[in-house]
């Protein structure tokens, strides 16, 4: 037991003093501490306390056995034992006549055990109701009644109840048939199910409900935890118990668990009938297909509100292969009004069976919709193979990439945990990140290797989760992790590969190298990992990287710092990046990547005129290409500049395609080429390419925003909104997301949301400044005064300094002033770096067909009409004016 201090110590002022003295003392050499305390502290007891704490601190700081590991970390092993011991202690030896073998699981109402029936010599599952439930006699009487009725249910889809009884110490139990198998919850945790499996399971549940409803028994608690997947198919558990348990629990004040499967009428506690079960089944079916639930609010009131009022996203929007008819079935189950749902389980069953019979071709129907689901985007197929050219293959590849099925190819799958810094990480964090990126890049370039999504991984790995849990959650065969320690320009990198089945270490290595050797280390890790996992490596990329000269270590270090700063996406970061890249070049004038880094910085600076930026960046890119014609990013930069500044579309396409071919695992190559396609009006190709990108890259806000942008440009507004909203759940600070989202909201008429989003834009959206975007949004939604204010301000500024013509075009279009808009549009061809996504940008619909605008397009070297854009697409465009 600890010694409690006297109560008059409790005041905050004293602690503050303690803190101060302690910190001050730590800063002084030990031999002077006493003197310090004497002078700074009059209070004798306080002084003594500080001295004592200092002594303790010193003990801890040294590495004597006595104190080693004090509060260092939670001993997971022993904690595990404790938890287990604690629960085992509660495990009874027998329940009724049944002999307990082991615990199977725990639910809201009680614990389930596997037990043996010595009389009938069979295994049974026994649910022991919790003490509070058992003690409520009113409830349990009715419970026994209900359970008796339920036990009369003898149907293959319902878990048979054998006995209801009480133990010697008055605990209520239910003995039922034991089935080997996992719960639907466990199955869903592995990922969305194949469509036919989901339909089959739903049908089986419906069959069980049909039988129960025929006997006027309503389940009331249909959810994946209550569905067992056995060899004979799905089985429903816990019939009728929820009702009694629910009443009891609300009486005793406990919560019944998640409301996610409750029907609206259930949340109100009234008007419940058989159709309540059909709602819940709808939620389950949705979850099986989409991988997450239709109502995803943070629980409690928000969730109840959502259940009662929100319309969930259609399943076939979340997952394109789901047939429309099946999505309609789900939607009907989720009708708020019971009278609008299926009238009976039989009806639902009939529909499900018809749907199963009419399953369309598995391949994604051409050009259909999709969305990144919250947890579904787990697999990244490094589909480096099929690049750019074959569209059908692209689409098919993407479909596979977006909705992973774990049943296939688990063998070549890996989860890469971010490398962690050991020791003083502070100044060297960028190196550790660099190491992680390099390894990620290397692994992603292996076609047969499936790499798991880092975001999902980060979640799965917190809270002390072990390898097996993480891997099971992500469906990977192996997990790679490592540490990096830095000292004086050198790195000590350790990496280990663990297999998921047992957490066994397959391979590990330590590298003691100069910090500039990250690439070499990453390559080595890739080689070893792919060998261990039995996955073939492409000889091509190995060849390419060895051909590239290794840069000077100081230069490389500066380069990495520059990249890190650049990635911050802030003006300060940009400035810093510029300094680093310049220094890198100063150290090593043949370091091609540094030139590109600097070129990128120069092109990002928004304050200077476009042609200024171009003038300065162009020679850098040319030099980089001259130094290394196989550098993908050099081609990307070259293509980008050809597009934005020279408007040399042919050269742009050439360079951007080459960039993609050289580095098919790099997301930016996709986005750049896609932007090109959008610029020249080849919108279908841009969309196809963007889709393929999602199969490659982990979902970062940046990626999601680009995808949202391309969807927006392809007039697929609802999907764009869905993707962008999801991007915000990952990171609300990526301002560009708001810009695109704002435009998308405008397109569907959600004007208030649009304005709100546009106000939050801090970064430019596809060539429009935040102000211009906002002005446009305000204008078209009728906020004329404010729109005019901004527009006037821009005009004013344009008289004195540089304002991009496109911004003024946007501002004037918002106010409906097409004449003025065209005035500015005519200045675009002369303004380098003013990109005008002529065909893609919906706001130009108002002026696209005017002679003046057509002349602008011609001057830009673009064809008169967009290739392949259909009239229907154009008709679908436009913004609703108030």
């Amino acid at each position: 037991m600890i010694a409690h201090r006297s109560s008059d110590d409790g005041d905050a002022g004293r602690w503050a003093q303690l803190e101060q003295l302690f910190a001050a003392a730590l800063d002084t050499p030990p031999e002077q501490r006493d003197a310090l305390l004497e002078s700074d502290c009059a209070d004798v007891t306080l002084r003594a306390e500080v001295r004592r704490l200092l002594a303790r601190h010193d003990v801890l700081a040294s590495s004597s056995d006595q104190s080693e590991g004090f509060l260092a970390s939670l001993d997971i092993g022993r904690a595990a034992q404790l938890l287990d011991a604690a629960s085992s202690a509660d495990t009874p030896r027998s329940i009724g006549r049944y002999e307990v073998v082991r615990r199977l699981g725990r639910g809201a109402t009680g614990v389930v055990y596997l037990a043996h029936d010595p009389l009938l010599e069979r295994d049974v599952a026994v649910k022991l109701l919790s003490a509070d439930l058992s003690a409520d006699h009113v409830g349990t009487l009715r419970f026994e009644q209900e359970a008796r009725t339920a036990s009369a249910l003898d149907h293959p889809r319902v878990v048979t109840i054998y006995e209801i009884g009480r133990t010697d110490d008055e605990r209520l139990f239910i003995a039922m048939a034991f089935h080997e198998g996992k719960t639907l919850r466990e199955r869903i945790a592995e990922g969305p199910l194949p469509i036919d499996a989901a339909v089959r399971i739903a049908s089986e549940i419906a069959e069980g409900l049909e039988a129960a409803h025929a006997r006027r028994i309503i389940h009331r608690d249909v959810k994946p935890e209550n569905v067992l997947l056995t060899a004979r198919g799905a089985c429903i558990l816990d019939f009728g118990i929820a009702k009694i348990a629910g009443e009891t629990l609300t009486r005793t004040g406990a919560a019944l668990g998640t409301a996610a499967y409750m029907s609206p009428e259930q949340t109100r506690g009234a008007g419940i009938d058989e159709r309540t079960d059909l709602w819940s089944l709808g939620v389950v079916l949705y979850e099986m297909l989409a991988g997450d639930r239709p109502f995803r609010s943070a629980g409690g009131e928000a969730l109840v509100y959502a259940v009662r009022h929100d319309t969930p996203l259609a399943v076939d929007v979340k997952r394109p292969e789901v047939p429309r008819s099946l999505a309609a079935i789900v939607a009907r189950c989720l009708e708020k009004e019971p009278s609008r749902r299926y009238a009976s389980a039989s009806e639902l069953l009939h529909s499900l069976r018809s749907s199963a019979a009419a399953t369309p071709d598995r391949r994604v129907r051409e050009g259909r919709r999709w969305i990144i689901g919250a947890m579904t985007l787990l697999a990244i197929c490094a589909a480096g193979a099929a690049v750019a050219s074959r569209r059908d293959d692209l689409v098919r590849l993407t479909a596979r990439g977006v909705t992973p099925t774990l049943s296939s190819g688990r063998a070549g799958s890996i989860a890469l945990m971010p490398f962690t810094s050991v020791g003083d990480a502070g100044k060297h964090g960028y190196l550790t990140e660099g190491m992680t990126s390099e390894v990620m890049l290397q692994l992603a370039s292996v076609p047969q290797l499936r790499v798991a999504d880092p975001v999902a991984l980060l979640i799965a790995s917190k809270g002390g989760a072990d390898v097996r849990t993480i891997a099971a959650r992500l469906g990977t065969a192996a997990l790679l992790r490592g540490t990096v320690r830095h000292a004086d320009g050198r790195m000590l990198v350790t990496a280990e590969l663990l297999e998921s089945e047992h957490g066994k270490r397959l391979w590990s290595r330590s590298y003691d190298r100069p910090s500039s050797d990250a690439l070499a280390i990453a390559e080595d890790i890739r080689r070893e990992v792919t060998t261990e996992l039995g996955v073939a490596t492409p000889a091509q990329s190995a060849q390419r990287s060895t051909a590239r000269a290794r840069p000077d270590s100081a230069a490389y270090d500066l380069y990495l710092r520059g990249r890190f700063a650049y990635d911050q996406r802030t003006p300060a970061g940009l400035a810093e990046a510029g300094v680093y890249f310049r220094e890198a070049i100063a150290h090593d004038s043949s370091f091609a990547r540094a030139y590109i880094g600097l070129a990128d910085v120069l092109q990002s600076a928004q304050e200077s005129r476009a042609d200024e930026r171009y003038r300065r960046a162009k020679p850098l890119v040319a030099r980089a290409l001259a130094l290394d014609s196989t550098l993908a990013e050099a081609h990307r930069s070259a293509g980008w500049m050809a597009m934005w500044y020279d408007r040399d579309w042919a050269a742009a396409e050439r360079h951007l395609r080459r960039a993609l071919a050289l580095d098919p695992s790099n997301i930016w190559m996709y986005h750049s080429l896609a932007a090109y396609f959008s610029a020249v009006g080849r919108t279908e190709e841009s969309l196809a390419l963007t889709r393929q990108a999602t199969a490659i890259d982990p979902v970062s806000s940046a990626t999601a925003t680009h995808i949202g942008l391309h969807l927006f440009w392809n007039r697929r507004y609802d999907e764009a909104i869905a993707v962008l909203e999801h991007a915000l759940t990952v990171d609300t600070t990526w301002k560009r997301t708001h810009a695109v989202l704002g435009r998308a909201y405008l397109a569907v008429g959600r004007n208030d949301d649009a304005i709100r989003a546009l106000r939050r834009t801090g970064y430019e959206y596809a060539a429009f400044s935040p102000e211009a975007s906002l002005a446009y949004g305000l204008g078209v939604t009728g906020h004329t005064a404010e729109a005019r204010d901004i527009t006037d301000r821009l005009e004013q500024r344009a008289r004195g300094s540089y304002v991009r013509p496109v911004d003024l075009v946007a501002a004037h279009l918002g106010l409906g002033d097409t004449a003025r808009a065209l005035d500015w549009a005519e200045r675009i061809p002369d303004d380098r770096g003013s990109m005008i996504f002529v065909f893609s940008e919906p706001m130009y619909d108002a002026i696209r067909d005017t002679p003046r605008f057509r002349r602008v397009i011609a001057r830009l070297g673009l064809p008169a009409t967009a290739p392949r854009t259909t009239a229907q697409d154009r008709a679908r465009a436009g913004v609703t004016r108030r």
Binding site: E19, F22, L53, R56, H57, A85, S88, T729, D731
Partner: protein
């Protein structure tokens, strides 16, 4: 065989806590307002939950130890360690609560770092303070707790 059983127990535990963590995350993830910072809060919440879970288990273990002889399914040779660990945790919890009375922030740092295994940066984010103050809180809190667990005022 003991080893295998132990690791099975270990997995069930980690499954429990990850489920705990996962469930909480799902709830948070459903909230569109969650940001990077929010994630740090989440981990801090998970750490608090972890503390509760363990302390509850320790109490239950203590209770059964003193109470009727329930079926002990744990391995005999491990019993001693488990009981000792349970006691240690309860002592730590008591001391932590004492610390909370004096300086809530330091106690929160301890919960984040010890029960949550959070880094200094994450802890700083979660508590809305600078990493430096986390480090100094940690140093003092550790010394204080160490002191409390070894008898306190001498």
């Amino acid at each position: 065989m003991a080893r295998r059983q132990l690791s099975r127990q270990h997995d069930r535990y980690t499954l429990q806590t990850t489920e705990l963590v996962h469930e909480a995350y799902l709830r948070l993830a459903g909230d569109p307002r969650v940001t990077q910072r929010g994630r740090a809060y989440f981990y801090a919440a998970a750490a608090r939950a972890m503390r509760q879970v363990l302390v509850d288990a320790a109490r239950r273990r203590n209770a059964t130890k003193r109470g009727s002889g329930a079926a002990a399914l744990s391995l005999d040779e491990q019993v001693g360690t488990v009981d000792a660990y349970a006691d240690q945790l309860l002592d730590l919890d008591d001391a932590l609560r004492e610390l909370e009375r004096r300086n809530a922030r330091s106690a929160r740092v301890v919960v984040c770092r010890f029960f949550g295994g959070m880094s200094v940066e994450d802890t700083a984010q979660a508590l809305g303070v600078s990493p430096r103050s986390v480090k100094s809180d940690w140093a003092l809190a550790r010394a204080w707790l160490y002191d409390a667990l070894r008898g306190g005022a001498g």
